[in-house]
Each structure stands twice: as structure tokens, then as C-alpha cells.
Symmetry: D2
Subunit: 258 residues, 4 copies
């Protein structure tokens, strides 16, 4: 089986904070529109290379970009500057763990200057993978979220419950497994992991249930690209629903291990 | 001064969960694109009536809609069905507190059926305000976020810090003040509040610093519409920056109270 | 009945040609994406004030903006600069005929400098209507376009036929009636007219049939805003379909004349 | 040199006319928004495979899709249905001339039923190229359009001049050379051609000057994909500007012929 080696790209809007208040504070709905459209575009641009982007803080987004070289990154960067009033800088790195990769990707950008340095624009630094590494993606959702939460509690309390579960998972996966977890809407969280086995996911689900009172299930995929690993994870999650199980590992993963 | 009376609209994508996996799981970047574009459009549609929308869970969004009547809601609903492959249901309610309003808005939708009932589509239920009420908006950000966090820690750890601060604020403002708080990107959180004074905001900032180690400042605005209250809050936050203060209350608020 | 007095806004992308080739020619699909998204956004921004925009040349768009004052124009201009890597200049004018209005609107911009003067950006010049004037909108389509053309000829020849009909109508309406006609997709053309009666439309349809061999029908609306006049025109066109007639004048128009 | 063999895809919105008036006529700006966003998305989707789309009638668009197989077409079709309230059918064909290709692509769709048959949705028919063929793209623009027209005449008259030149070119290139010409905004027209040499372009430019009084220049590119051929054409057009010539043939074309 191909070794897991996650390539992470930090996408940072250049000097964004100052822009949002110059010459005076811009209307918040216009900023929200800009941010969410930029995220939508980046989702598509990165997806065309089978990568995944997470909105994270919107002005700093984290992407899994295995298979995208520097020329591909430059093209994404150009697409942003050709469509938006802001530009982005990109830091790229790979690591045995997602934590290591995001650490180095960030360091690559930080070495070029401050995020609010008006002169530091459209940086592209880092070393995409030469040899192929694989990605492990875990797609979690909440058991019976609609019947237990959405149809029962007020919408903000539902959100609060989901957020608690997400925060508990985020902290645990990062501390215990150097993994990066992102809320992606609804009751869904994606963790970018590396080399985790079924008991590790069982323990994570136990932890979230104990600390936040939220019951999760998870489908896990493993493949050369985030897009394929993520789709395998989604299909595995469907099997959880069909079988009533709480951890399913994708076919390509199983095949890979056989 | 006009009494604070928050009008909240719950915007719920109809039967969304099943749609995302029918006939088989849709590619995640396509779902992210759909969700973020829909949020961008709703931001604009609601902003044209001077309202605010928060992405919340993306499939369930919470909006502050003072001044938008049922015809305006219907027009927003129609715009969604004319642009997207999904439809939305809307529950509207007002309350002395934002918590009360979101509770009733949710109840209005829940009374019409489950969020995953394929027959329950494009519901519009509730009673927009007849008399005018005002809205209070508090716009928080993190002190020196770029120099202390973005330029120093890895991007995921920065996000984790911001998320901890946000979660602490969310819980506190809801429990102590029946207020609804939303992360809006970067290091920014907006709380929809009602009738809170300066000491209440001071206490909230103290609480977040003690429990999550994050130092916040806040600008507060109060006006008939979320858009105007929010802009007053942003301008007040600018004054915090200029003056080195941590709570500033918007001019219109002051004027209102004089 | 309120006098027809068309307010026209010329929307011109600032210094666009040079931008498209600096520092080297940008990829055409990226330019097409920018242009069509900008047009989509302007359609919505202007529609929120019940105006109409036509894509025309995309880098120069013509809008009917009765009811939008200078502050409204400024807000639209700001929205563009907050979302796009380009800015727009706006020339506004009113006239007894649409031709007169577009002439003066253009002159207002030309007086400020060349469209490719890098220093001439975000101009806003002109005098929106103080008193209310009304707009007349005529919505044409081709009889049996699907059965006669789309399902029969190759797609480019269908387009060529539609284009011939459009060009014939454009020339005639401008020369005979100082009216501005715009292809809006499918087999649809909208003419912005002033004070034309039923025989005038009959004659226009005859002319197009004789010169281009294309049979049209038309619905006509008249109201204070382009949005309402345009909707009345569309409803009148539906009545053409139901009744088998080729010219129908909208109810509000009839009422206005009674 | 690789033989020119143009692959054309007809993209047709399914049953669009009836949708626009059901249950009652939809607001025109909403339809314009839908059409232009769909075109923007298709531009990007097709460009990711190095193809070109032209908006044509918006409800029927013509694309040059050399290099995109049926699976790629299916993915584009799925992307539309996952983002829009309408679906598209696709007819694909190749031909020695663009006219032949569009004819067969259209016939493939027509054989599946009427464009307004509510049961005929998401058709995908045709035979993408097995062997590689090349594409020839000619990018025309108007000499001194800004100084002669945009800065001098009223905006509608400029448009009328451009439209006349475009129509003259469209007719000539189709009748004389089985080529497909599309206005793409500003003063730009792209012709999809096959095997045309420099004298053929000179004659086309002469024809347009004689019949419409518009002076054109043209850059020509030839490559395996529309994207690369189109970029070569744009670079050739830049050379026309630099050298003051009116026909320049792209480097890759020259190389191919050497």
C-alpha cells in the first residue's frame, strides 16, 4: 500500500484585514459574499485536481492538495487574482502527518512576511510531493441528527450541540493523532488523518460521546487523492447507515491492506 | 429609544440530507460549492432589505430580518428556487430576546413537518413584526490576532484558538444573555443581543479570556435594521482599535439612549 | 398617464482592454467568467431597485434605471469594486427617447476621459430623474421557435436566423423609433421604447418578417420602473400565446390610457 | 501536422422555455442571472479540459470540446444538475469542418426528442474523438475600437457598429468556410475554423470592411485543444497590435506547418 503522505496548502488572503476596513468598514454582507464565493471557487479549482479545500477561517483556508504541483498552484493563484479584488498567497508542504504538513506549509508563508504586510502578496512557496503519497480521509456525521436535534430543539441549540461535538473531535484528533478536523456543514465533519485504524476511530467516537454527549459514526477512505479518498469515505459512511455500524473503512483502503 | 425586538428567520434547505446522497453520494466539493453560493446569495438577498444572515450549519441558516415582511420572505424563497436545485423553508418569529425569537421561528417550521419530509417544501410560516423593533448587534474580534496568532502559530492551531474563543463566547452569551453568536470568518464573531450594556460586554470578554485564553474587544450597534446596527458595531470596533479600548458602543446607540 | 421619460445608465468597465492583456493575454474562459458573473451581479443589484441591465458588449452595458438615484448608483459601483478585480464607471441621463438618454449618458462618461485612460476610474456622472417618468418595455419572441428552428436546423443556423431577426429589429427600432433593442437569450429580444402604439409594433414585426424572414410577436408594458414594465410586457406576451395574437399591450398600459 | 478535426458539443437547457413561464413568467433579471451564471460555470467546467464554450443563445450553447470524452461530458452534466434548477442535454460530434460537427451534434440531440419535450432530459449522445484532431481558432478584434467608437459614439451606436461587423463576419465565415463565429464581448469575435490560411483571413477582413465598414485584425492559433489554440490566437493578435499587421498566425501553427 502506498505510504500516507499528506500534502497541505495554506491559502491566505493577502492583507485582508486592512482591506476590509479601508477606507472605512465595508458592509458585512458584502464581505460574507466575497468570502463564501472565493471559497466556492477555490473548492472547484482545487477539486479539478482532485483536492479538497476547507473554509476554516475563510481568510485562511486549509487544503489537501496531493497531486497538485507548483504550476497547478500558480494557476489557482492566477484564477483568484483574475476574479477577485483580493489576492492569495499559498504555502505548500508535505508531511507524514497532516499536522506536520500544515506546520511546514504555514512556516513557508510566515517566512515570506506577515499576513498583513502590504508588500507580501501572491507568495507561492513550498515543495509539492515528488513521489506519490496517499491521503486518508474520515467523514463523520451525527447519528439521527434530524430526528434527535433538527426536528426537536431550536435551531441555535442544535447548532450548539453540533459545535460542541465538532470542537471535542477537533481537539482530540489533533492532540491524539496529529489530524486536522473541519466542520463542513449540516452535521458533518471531515478529518484529514494518516494511518489510523478502526480502533482509533472507535476511541475517537467514544471520546466525543463522553465529553460532548454527541454520537457519531464515521466512514474512512484512503487513496492517492483527497477527492477519491473523500468519496470512498462517503461511501463507507453510507454503509454505516445501511448496516447500523459506526465505523466503516472504504473498499480501496481494505483492498490496499489486503 | 425604540424597544429591542429581534426578528429571526430560520432558513432551512428542504430535505437536504437525502438529496446529498441520492442516487449516490455527491462529490463533497460540489456540495461545498452549492452551500457557500447559496449562503452568498442569501447574504445579498437579505442585505437588500438590510438584514443579516449567518451561515450557521449551512443547511440551516439563521437570519436577523427586522423590516422584512412575508412578501419579502416569499421573494427570497422564490429567488432560491429559481437559481438552485434545492428549495428552502422559512420560519419567522420575533421575540424580546434573540433566543426567544429563534425558538419560535424554529417551532413554526417544526410544526409543518420534519426537515427530511420530502413533502414539506417551501414552507413560509410566522408573523413578521407589525410594529418596529430595533436590533442590537455586537461585533467582536481578537486583539492582535495577526501578530499573536496568524504570523506565529501553524494555521490549524490559530484556527483552534479562534474556535475555542468562539465556543466560549457562544455558550456564555446564550446562557447568560439569550444571545446568538456566530463566527463570521477571520477572528470575528457577531452576537445578536438585546438590551445589553457595557458591563455585560466587559463581563463576556473577561469570561472568554479566563476560560479560553483569548482576548477580545467589541463594538456594539443598535438600530432598526441589522444592517445599520451591524455597521454601527463595526464603526465602534474601529474606535476600539484607535483608542485601545475593549468595548465601544455605537453612536446611534448612545444617541438613542440620551 | 405618466409621461415616458427613460433613465439610462451606461456601465463601463474601467480600462478593461489593457487589463485583459496585462501582463500577458488572460485565458479567454477566465474573461468570459468574469464578464458573465459581473453581468449576473449587476442584474441583481439593479433589479433590487426594479431596473433592468442588458449585457450589450459586456464591457459596456446599458441599463434602464428609472427610480435609482445617485446614492443607489454609488452603492452599485461600490459593490462591484468590493467583489471584482475591475471597477466600473457610470454615466446617467434621462431623455424623452431612449436614444436621447443613452446619448447623454455616454456623453457624461466621455467628458470624463477615455474608456482606456488608466486614471479615469469609478466616474459617476449624470442627473437621475427628479420627477417620476415611466418606462415602456416591449418583449419580443419568435413564433414557434422550437418547432420551426431549434428542433429542425443545426444549432448554429438557428442562432444565425435569430441573430438576423434581432439585427433587423435593432436597426429598425433605432432608426424609426429611437428605441434600444437587446437580445436576451433564447429567441427573446427586449426593446426599450417610448410612447409607441400598437400600429408601430405591427409595422416593426412586418419589417422584420420582410427583411429577415423571421416572424415575431410582442408584449408591451408601461410602468414607473423597468421591472414592472418588463413584467407587464412578459404577461402581455403570454396573452399573445394564448390568443394567437401578435401584439398585446399590458394591462397597466391600457389602464393608464383609459 | 495533426489534421484539424473539430469536436463540437451542443449544450441545450432541457425544456427551458416552459420553465421560464411556469407557473407564471419569472422575473427577467432572475432569468438573466441564471443564464449568465450557468454560462460562467460551463466556461470553467469546459476550460478545465481545455475546451471553449460560447454563450450563443444561452439556452443553446456551442462548445469546442476536443479532448473531452463521454465521461468528462457526463461529469459536466452532473455538475449542472447539482447546482441549478435546470438540467442540460449534450450532443457531441466531430467533423472535418466546424459546420459539419455542429450539424451532427445537433442531429444527435434532435434524434432524442424535442428541446421542449419534458421527458427528454439529460441526454448525452455522440461519439467523442478517438484519435486526436487539432483545432483552429481565429480571434478577431476591431481596429482602434476605443478611440474610433467607444470614446466617440453613443454606447448603443458603438454596439450597433460592432454588431454589424460581427453579423457580416458570421455570415461570411459560415458560408465561405463552414466556420462558426461568436461574439465574445467588447469588440472581440472568435471564429472556430478549419485549415484556413492567411489569404482566407485577409479576404474575410476585406469582406467585413466592404459590407459593414468595420476594420478588423485577427490572430490565428492551431493546437490540439481549443484552450491552447485560443491562447495562441490571442498571442498572435497581440503581435498584430505590436507590428501593425492585420493577420498573424500563431507560432504553434507555423511550427506545425514547417
Amino acid at each position: 500500500m502506498t505510504r500516507t503522505e499528506t500534502q497541505v496548502t495554506l491559502i491566505q488572503i493577502d492583507n485582508y484585514g486592512p482591506w476590509t476596513v479601508a477606507p472605512s468598514p465595508k458592509r458585512e454582507p458584502d464581505l460574507q459574499t466575497l468570502q463564501s464565493r472565493l471559497y466556492a471557487d477555490l473548492s472547484q479549482l482545487v477539486a479539478h485536481h482532485d483536492g479538497y479545500v476547507f473554509f476554516t477561517r475563510f481568510d485562511n483556508m486549509i487544503a489537501v492538495t496531493n497531486g497538485i504541483d507548483l504550476a497547478g498552484h500558480r494557476r489557482i493563484q492566477d484564477a483568484v487574482s483574475n476574479r477577485y479584488p483580493v489576492t492569495v498567497s499559498l504555502g505548500v508542504a508535505t508531511g507524514a502527518s497532516p499536522r506536520e504538513a500544515v506546520g511546514e506549509a504555514t512556516a513557508n508563508l510566515q517566512a515570506a512576511g506577515s499576513a498583513q504586510d502590504g508588500e507580501r502578496t501572491e507568495i507561492l512557496r513550498g515543495d509539492p510531493l515528488c513521489e506519490e503519497g496517499a491521503v486518508q480521509i474520515a467523514h463523520f456525521d451525527v447519528n439521527d441528527a434530524t430526528s434527535q436535534y433538527t426536528d426537536e430543539l431550536n435551531a441555535f441549540e442544535v447548532f450548539r450541540h453540533i459545535d460542541r461535538g465538532y470542537s471535542a473531535l477537533l481537539e482530540y484528533m489533533y492532540d491524539a493523532h496529529d489530524s486536522l478536523s473541519f466542520f463542513i456543514g449540516g452535521d458533518n465533519v471531515i478529518s484529514v488523518t494518516a494511518g489510523l485504524d478502526r480502533p482509533a476511530f472507535d476511541a475517537a467516537i467514544d471520546h466525543v460521546e463522553e465529553t460532548a454527549g454527541i454520537e457519531l459514526k464515521v466512514g474512512v477512505g484512503h487513496d492517492l487523492r483527497a477527492g477519491d479518498a473523500g468519496m470512498a469515505a462517503k461511501e463507507a459512511l453510507e454503509r454505516c447507515r445501511e448496516r447500523g455500524t459506526r465505523v466503516e473503512v472504504g473498499a480501496s483502503e481494505s483492498a490496499g491492506r489486503a
